[in-house]
Structure formats: C-alpha cells, structure tokens
C-alpha cells in the first residue's frame, strides 16, 4: 500500500473555487437554443375537487406556446413512484398533475409553456380554475380518528400502514420495572431549504427519440430509470444530468412531478423546456421533513437501567407517498434504542395521510427523530430517579466489547465506543464545573442548563436486501494514456466534497498528483450506473466502490509492469506511483509510463486487454453506525423566554477520517440544522391546510448569527464494513443536535418542575412555560 499522504489530511475542497467565483453551472445556468420556459399554476386549496379549468385566455396570451393540464399529463405519464418498503402499504395513484382532485396545497394543476419566464408567469393569472373545496384534515392524530375527512376516500381510512418491530419480552420488562416513565413528544414538520431550489431542463431529440433531462437531483440514475418507466421510453434513450447541485439534504432524493411535466412539455412542444422553482413554490412542492408524534414509555430499574421501551410513532406522511415517504418513519422505529442495550422493545409505526405536502427524507431521515425520543427519555428517567443524566447514559451504554451488537430491533451495530466520545466531550465541556456553577447561577435568578445527547445513526445505506431499493454503489477508475486519472462515481455529490475526498484516495493509492485526477459524477451518459447520494453513503459505499477499482487498476499496472520487466508480478513493488522489482527501485517505471504502454498495446501479456480501467460495484454487507456525543449549554432569559446557546461541543466518530476538513464542514452544517429544529423552524398550517409559514419571512431558518461557534473533536472507531473503515458523516450533526439543545433547555428550567417542552423552543413558548 502506498504511503498515505492525502488521506487523513485537511485538503481544501477542489470544487470551491468555481463555486465561490460564480463559475459553476447549475440547472438555471443551462441555456439551450430555442429553449422555452414553464410556469406552474398550483392548487390554492389543500383538498378540493377540480370542477373546471379554462385555459383559453392563457393560450392566446403573448408568447405562450402551450398550456398543459392534468388530462394530457395523465395520457403521457404514469403516476409518480414510491419505493414503498412497508408491507400492506396503501398506495394512492400520485399523478404528476392531478386531473379531478387536489390533495394538498401547491399541487400543480396546469402548466404554461412560453417563450420566456415572464410570459409564462403572467399567463398563469389568465387560467381560471373552479374548485369545490372538500373537508380538510391537517392534524395527524385527528386524521386517525374515525369520521375524519379522508385524503383518499378509496381506502376508507387515512392510515397508510402500520409497521411493527419487536424484540425481547417487553411485558416482563414492564412487570420488573421499578418505575415507568411516559412522555408524548413531537418532531415538528420542517421545510428543507437548500440554497438552490429545484430546477429542470428537458430536451427531446425527435430524430433518435432521446430525452435528456437536467435536474437538480441527488439521484440522477434513479431518476433516469423512473422517467423511462413513467414516460414509456427505453431506459437507454433517457439521459439525466445532475449538474452542480446547490444542496439537497434529502429533499432532492426524489422523483418529482415537475421532472415529469417538463419532459411531457418538451416532447409536446418539440423544444427544450426549462422550469426553475421559485422559493415560494419550494415551500409547497418540495418534500418536507420529520413530522412525527411519539408516545414513549420506558420501564426502568431502580439504578436507572432501562429494561424496556414501548414506542408508538405516528408519522404524518402528507397527502402522497414520494420515493421514501413510507420508509422514513420506520427508520425511527428501527433506531428506537439508540446507543443503549435495551433488550426489550416494541416500536409501532403508523403512517398517516393528511392534506399536506408529502414528507420524505430530510437530513437524518428518521434518525434525528429516534435520537431525540430516546435521548429525551434518558433525561426524563434521570429526572424521575434523581440521577445525573450522564450516569444513566453510562449505565445503559452498549459496552465497547459487545460489537458487533444486535439490537432488539434486529440491526447489527458494526462498531462503537460510546464512552470514549462521551468522556472527551464531558472534558471539553467541563461538565461537572458547569453543574456546580449552575447552582450559583440559579441562586442569582439565571436559568442555565446543560444538555447531553449520545447518538448513533444508521449510515452507509446500505445492504440491498435490507432496503426497499438497491443499496450498492458503482465506480470507475481510468488511468488515461497520458497518465491522468479519471474517477467516475454513481454517488452524485451535491456539496459534500467527494471531488476532493475521492481524489485524495486515488492520489494515495495510485501515487499520482491530486491535480492529475478528475472526479466525474451526475451524468448518466458519463457514469453508466449508480444509485445516488443519501443516507451518508457517498464515502462508505461510493468510496468503497472506488477502492475496489483502485485495487484492480493497480493490479493490472503491476502485472503489465512485471511483464515488461520480465519479472513475476509477486516480485513487484508499487510505491508512490513507481513500479519496480523488489530491491531495484532505481529501475522503476512510473504509472504514467505503464498506462501509456497499456494503451499502445504492443507487447502486452497474451491474456491482457489494452487500456487501464476498472469498474466495480460495492454491495455493503451491513450499514455503518457512526456515533458521538453532543453537549449544548444554554441560558434562557427569565423575562423574555429567549434562549441562547452559550457553548456547543460535539465529539463525533465517523470511523477513519478521509478529510477532516470536510468532516468538520458536514458536522457544522448538520448541527446548524439540528439547532434550527430545536429552536426555530416549524411548518405551520391553519385548519384549512393553508401554509402560514410559507416564506423565509415566516419560516425561521437559522442564520450564521443564530448559531454558536462549535467546539469540535473526533474519536476514531473504524468500521469493518468497508476497506477504508469510514462510516459517513453527512447527517451526524443534525442527528445529535436537537436532543442536546432541548435537553439543555429542559435542564435550565428543571428547578421550576419542567420535565419536557416540545420543539421548537420559541421564546413565547418558553416564556409561557416559565410563567
């Protein structure tokens, strides 16, 4: 193995210069000859019959080329897909453009295609739609009641599925319990806001019958297969390109109506069609996140040992299943026991339809929710028994020697050392010192608190057999005849920095300068196969595929060099880009020379094909389970209820680090999103399903001024699941953060008898609690 110089180093992101100088190409930067623009008229009702659409005035408006309604889309396209993944799931037809009924605010009901964006937008105002409003159901628990308005009448109920995971003997655990603690908790609905909204350009080439779709997506290959199926085209006549993607956080891990409608429009008008989502559309039409209600009960022994956990999780799915809508709440169920050896579990998940935008994956997708429940429960147990929350955590931790550890929900945790991360974080925070000072602060009338969250998450998604869709990833490494190296990956990054980290790995393994390496992704015509980016999988799965390729390429280079040097491959050394017979470093060939020979193809070994390229698929044997400890220290203003995070400490363990700078970036962004959920963000609907927090004026996305400086550190516990030992870190910050902050806030108010406050901890809510 080459001496590692790049891997583990804080290499600056190679993609940043083009991003920060405006030289990157996003969907909206794509301009094609004779391109038309699409604008969508969206439902203003949460639930209504469409009784009439009159597009006649819009059709004759200046610049308008076509107006498309649901009938036409239904003729041209099958409903949008869901991966399902839950037994007995009720799946309503989800038309890209509904024909006779809308089920949530913002569903597209007509599309105008015009010569420019202004003409398209203006013509929307000329379309007349008659709706017959239907009763609306917004509250997920009311939606479960008999007699509730039905989102989809044909099912006779709003319950889309019930899913159960059980392990051990829960009844016995509750019989043996010294005390039982119960808490209802919520994970409010969040609205993802990547800096770049979604966008699509569709182009249909009539000659060969090829469709090309540029989309701001995390999953170009899944989109390609899905579009082919939906539109009845051959998969190899569809090309999807995800150009630069300005953030996704899970909300671009989908097959969206607009991708289908734009394709239908392009085929209809015979010209390229562009649609770029307005921020206000994004609030309604891009999937939302979280939205769960949980009823948690823990059976606890006198010493704080948690004997059993009973969870009922109610997932508000919104009106339809998008790609992973039903699966996300089941992740919460699977991860119910967190980092604890809770042997007895019953976790029931109920997925429920409401007249709201569909919920799907959002950074963490089910694991921030699970972590929040169990981490809050541990604090409540500590409060009940008068113990320190840290001691209760330690008493229940899965010990380091117990890995691989099988949880009551049937998962096998790969590796972990929870005490290590906890100890480091407590030292950094000065936990005991804070606790001592808290007493004095309280005497002075100040409300200060410290909150700990020890999390684990399910990452490196994942083994295909354990998923509703394929979980492998593919990669290709090609040493060009010039010795430059091209890396292709199917896990299409959108801000995570794999153009840097993958190049670091290739540079180390092949011994070529990092500047000679190009990492390509996101274009199905360039990267033949792939799955995409989600579930912190790029490094743990995509990186592993890359490692397999690198091994193959090195092997071929070694065999070829051995042949040229008339030596045996086993006698060869490949070190820092030079190949030589053991003990003869002075007579080396460079990898560049070997590559040139491979393409010149004169005098190759008889069984060897020309070229120097390898493609691999990595199918993971298990998920990875990163973990860590987050600690928040907060102060709440007794007069105003305003909460300030004074310090935030995070010790994360994502296995062996490839680029610590990228890891820090991921952790910081993740924590900001977790803080957002803990303190600020919330989708608010009125009882008619109108979104009251539908703009950035009303939806409080945290800004840089609203989050503290983070104090970060890491421990390193490698995973055996992939050759790098890396676990993935894209979601860790979000998963650890919201529980830490809420635990700190509750701690700050615990002397007032406060045991739980639901997120988000807005000042008015805290003030009411204080009063």
């Amino acid at each position: 193995m080459a001496i590692s110089r790049m891997v583990g180093a804080r290499i600056k992101r190679r993609e940043d210069p083009r991003l920060i100088t405006g030289a990157a190409t996003y969907v909206d930067d794509i301009k094609l000859y004779d391109m038309q623009y699409m604008a969508l008229l969206r439902s203003v009702h949460a639930h209504a019959k469409i009784t009439r659409i009159d597009v006649s005035k819009a059709l004759v408006a200046p610049g308008v080329v076509a107006v498309i309604t649901g009938e036409e889309v239904r003729r041209a396209a099958a409903p949008l897909p869901t991966a399902g993944g839950v037994e007995g799931l009720k799946v309503p037809d989800h038309d890209s453009m509904p024909v006779d009924k809308v089920c949530h605010l913002g569903q597209p009901v007509a599309a105008v295609i015009a010569r420019d964006r202004y003409a398209a937008r203006d013509a929307l105002d000329l379309i007349e739609v008659d709706y017959e409003p239907l009763p609306v159901v917004v509250d997920v628990e009311k939606a479960m009641e008999p007699g509730s308005p039905l989102v989809h009448e044909q099912f006779g109920s709003n319950i889309a599925y019930t899913w159960l995971v059980e392990g051990g003997d829960l009844e016995q655990a509750f019989k043996d319990a010294h005390v039982v603690v119960k808490q209802r908790m919520t994970n409010q609905r969040l609205i993802p806001n990547p800096m770049e909204t979604r966008g699509v350009v569709a182009q249909y080439d009539r000659g060969p019958g090829n469709l090309t779709v540029w989309s701001s997506t995390q999953v170009p290959h899944i989109l390609r297969s899905s579009l082919a199926t939906i539109l009845g085209l051959a998969e190899n006549k569809v090309r999807v390109v995800a150009p630069e993607v300005g953030g996704g956080f899970g909300c671009k891990l989908n097959i969206y109506a607009e991708e289908v409608i734009a394709a239908v429009a392009a085929m209809r008008v015979g010209k390229p069609v562009k649609w770029v989502e307005e921020r206000s559309e994004s609030f309604l039409a891009t999937t939302h996140g979280r939205d769960q209600v949980a009823y948690c009960e823990a059976a606890v022994a006198k010493d704080g040992t948690i004997l059993g956990l009973r969870m009922k999780l109610i997932g508000d799915l919104g009106a339809f299943h998008q790609l992973f809508t039903p699966a996300v709440p089941t992740f919460s169920g699977l991860m119910s026991t967190g980092v604890y050896k809770i042997a007895n579990l019953r976790s029931e998940v109920v997925g429920v339809f409401t007249n709201k935008t569909p919920v799907d994956a959002y950074r963490g997708a089910g694991r921030p929710e699970a972590t929040y429940y169990v981490e809050r429960i541990v604090d409540i147990v500590a409060d009940e028994l008068g113990l320190d929350p840290v001691d209760v955590r330690r008493r229940n931790f899965i010990p380091p020697g117990a890995f691989p550890y099988t949880t009551a929900s049937g998962l096998t945790y790969d590796s972990g050392d929870y005490e290590l991360a906890l100890k480091r974080a407590l030292e950094m925070a000065g936990y005991q010192k804070f606790k001592d000072e808290q007493v004095k602060a309280r005497e002075a009338g100040r409300y200060v608190g410290i909150g700990v969250s020890t999390y684990t998450e399910i990452c490196g998604i994942g083994p295909s057999a354990a998923l509703p869709a394929a979980g492998w990833e593919s990669g290709t490494v090609r040493v060009e005849s010039s010795g430059k190296v091209t890396v292709l990956t199917g896990s299409s990054p959108h801000g995570q920095g794999q153009e840097t980290s993958f190049a670091q790995m290739a540079a180390d393994e092949l011994g070529v300068p990092i500047d000679d390496i190009v990492v390509l992704h996101g274009d199905t015509a360039v990267v033949a196969t792939g799955v995409g980016t989600f579930g912190s999988r790029n490094m743990a799965v995509g990186g592993a595929a890359l490692m397999m390729c690198l091994v193959k390429v090195k092997d071929k280079a070694t065999r070829l060099a051995a042949h040229m040097m008339e030596a045996l491959p086993d006698d060869m050394v490949y070190s820092e880009g030079r190949l030589y017979v053991k003990g003869h470093a002075d007579k080396a060939m460079t990898i560049q020379e070997v590559a040139a020979a491979a393409y010149r193809a004169v005098g190759l070994p008889p069984e060897m094909e020309p070229g120097m390229e390898a493609t691999s698929f990595f199918e993971p044997s298990n998920f990875t389970f990163p973990f860590g400890t987050h600690i928040a220290m907060v102060e709440i203003d007794p007069e105003t209820g305003d909460i300030t995070i004074q310090r935030y400490i995070a010790v994360d363990d994502c296995g062996r680090p490839i680029n610590p700078l990228l890891i820090d970036g991921q952790v910081q962004g993740g924590i900001a999103q977790g803080i957002g959920q803990a303190l600020y963000e919330e989708a608010v609907y009125d009882d008619q399903g109108q979104l009251l927090s539908g703009s950035l004026l009303d939806y409080a996305l945290p800004t840089a001024a609203m989050v503290p400086t983070y104090e970060l550190d890491r421990t390193e516990t490698p995973t055996p699941v992939n050759p790098m030992g890396a676990k993935g870190v894209g979601e860790a910050g979000t998963i650890g953060a919201s529980a830490a902050v809420v635990n700190a806030a509750v701690d700050a108010l615990s002397h007032l008898g406060v045991r739980h406050v639901d997120k988000p901890l807005k000042s008015e809510k805290l003030l009411r609690v204080i009063q």
Binding site: V44, D125, E128, S280, F283, L284, D637, E639, S695
Partner: protein, 163 residues
C-alpha cells in the same frame, strides 16, 4: 373602499362587485358578493358577509360587524370587527403584510366615509356614482413594510438589556 368596484345591486342587501388588492408581491382581484346579514337600526348594528374568488381559485370569505354608540362628549364611536378567511398565494407570500395592508385600506375607507359625511352627501346614492380610485399599490406596500420595520425597531428598543 380603495380598489373596489360595485358591479350590480341585486337587492336591498346584496351587492356584486370586485376588489383589487396588492399584498406584498401579490396583486390579485376578487370577484364576489357582499350581503347584509344583520341590520339592527335600533341598536345601531350591522353585520355583513362577503365572499370573493380569484380566477386561480383562491378565496376570501369574511364577516364584518359594525356598531355605533354615542360617547359622553357627544361624539359617535364606531367599532368594526372583521374576520376573514383567505386561501391562495396571498396567504403564503403576503401573510406578514396582510394585516398592515388591511389596516391601510380600512384607513382609506374611513377617510372616504368621513369626506362624504362632512360634505353631507347622502351615502347610499353617492356610493354607486363616486369615481373609484384604484388603490395605489406601491405606496401601500412601502407603508406596510415601513410599519413592519417600525415594529421591529420598537421591539428591539423595548427589549431589556442583556447582562
């Protein structure tokens, strides 16, 4: 009422018309009906309900109750209570400004009524004939934004100093 056009008087208590409003970046117009649902002359109380629809399907539905009472110093106090349910883009985008725009429009309506009362013109007949001035959108928006800014500044100033 700024932006309002009376299109048809159906009967004594029912009117059809339209009103054009701008809230924040949204300009829209509602077509609909206004109806008196209560006329209590003895107690100086009226209530009316209004229902309007945008072309794109958005709706506004509301009731307005108004009563008058004599004050001790010989003046008349008019109180108005309005409740409106709105659907459509205006809720999503313009919600933060809606209250301000409504207050502003109502202020203009009041000045209009005041002018009429002071000129002694009989209101019932004047209403249909008086030229309707469309509501000036930009100043409205600016004023709404300004009052928003003023509110934020006041909030900051009122905040207790921290530590």
């Amino acid at each position: 009422m700024p932006g309002a056009v009376l299109e048809e008087i159906v009967d004594d208590g029912t009117f059809l018309g339209s009103v054009k409003v701008a809230v924040g970046p949204i300009t829209t117009s509602y077509k609909g009906r206004v109806q008196f649902t209560e006329k209590d002359e003895a107690n100086h109380r009226i209530q009316l309900t209004a229902e309007g629809r945008e072309g794109s399907g958005g709706t506004a539905r509301g009731t307005m109750s108004s009563s008058m009472r004599a004050t001790e110093d010989g003046q008349t106090e008019v109180s108005v209570d309005v409740h409106v349910d709105v659907t459509g883009r205006i809720v999503q985008i313009g919600r933060g400004l809606m209250q301000d725009v409504a207050s502003d429009m109502f202020g203009q309506f009041v000045s209009c009524v005041k002018v009429r009362l002071e000129s002694g013109e009989p209101a019932a007949e004047g209403a249909a004939t008086l030229p309707v001035k469309p509501v000036a959108i930009l100043p409205l928006v600016l004023r709404a934004i300004w009052s928003g800014i003023v509110r934020i500044v006041r909030r900051i100033l009122r905040r207790p100093a921290r530590k």
